[in-house]
Symmetry: C2
Subunit: 145 residues, 2 copies
Amino acid sequence: MRISTKGRYALRLMLDLAIHNTGEYISLKDISARQGITVKYLEQIVTGLTRAGFLRSQRGNSGGYRLSRKPEDYTVGEILRAMEGSLEPIACLDDEVNLCPRSSECLTLPFWKGLSDVIRKYVDGTTLQDLVDTSEEAGADSYSI
Amino acid sequence: MRISTKGRYALRLMLDLAIHNTGEYISLKDISARQGITVKYLEQIVTGLTRAGFLRSQRGNSGGYRLSRKPEDYTVGEILRAMEGSLEPIACLDDEVNLCPRSSECLTLPFWKGLSDVIRKYVDGTTLQDLVDTSEEAGADSYSI
DNA sequence: CCAAACTCCTACTATACTGATAGGTAATGA
DNA sequence: TCATTACCTATCAGTATAGTAGGAGTTTGG
């Protein structure tokens, strides 16, 4: 039941861009310095986010990335799904294809559906802006992000 | 974010024993036939559950397993944790040891704690008896467990 | 009493996933 | 033009997953 580093780092990257959301492009080098994640690994993560349409990129000197929407228009759920593929606790819940032949008589399936629901409600009920807000509440000075 | 087969099968095994909770010992062979899981794999799963004190076992002819408590006295959470080790979405939340050096300034940590909370509330708020009840509501005949 | 029916224990294996690192190409701005 | 940046593909060690396999010890029904 673990979120991979890609999912966790993607969230930190997006949050970093949300906090430094000036309209300018932010380089991975800068994000790397702040987040302590290598540029090379960030590249892999950012690829997924750009392909999902979450980021705009600019090549060349003084290039980088910026958010393509406002922070309040991203849910944490969609960011995590872009990296993790699925947040469902069991494959049966992903789609019809993975539905197992026992599903109609499976006594544990309703439990898993319920778990899926509480997870989905939570992650899709939290926006990137919500995370920015909690950081400001806590006092921006104490954070080095 | 997937629950492993061990966790899923453990829940099915416990639920099978809860439904056939006559006081008699139930053999893995019987459970295997009902659940479609090999006896050899069930052995591995049942070992963890027995060590956790969830089951009583009886060796030899007409031996098997039975629940050591009443179905309403098991939470699904503790059953899953016995097999999965931890249900925390990130290692930082497991214990002090795994806490990363950035934790005090980590802007995403409160989010992960919140996710951990909704998961924990759900899985520890559901008992084995709850799963038995939903099966009875749905009509016992339609289920072959 | 003994053989069948069980649990119990340890080892092994193939496959996939994770968490990276590495090297090179293409675009851009000063 | 050249330093800086995004972009692309490949590789790799380590770990976890989802089992399979073979046997040893225990109990009881016949």
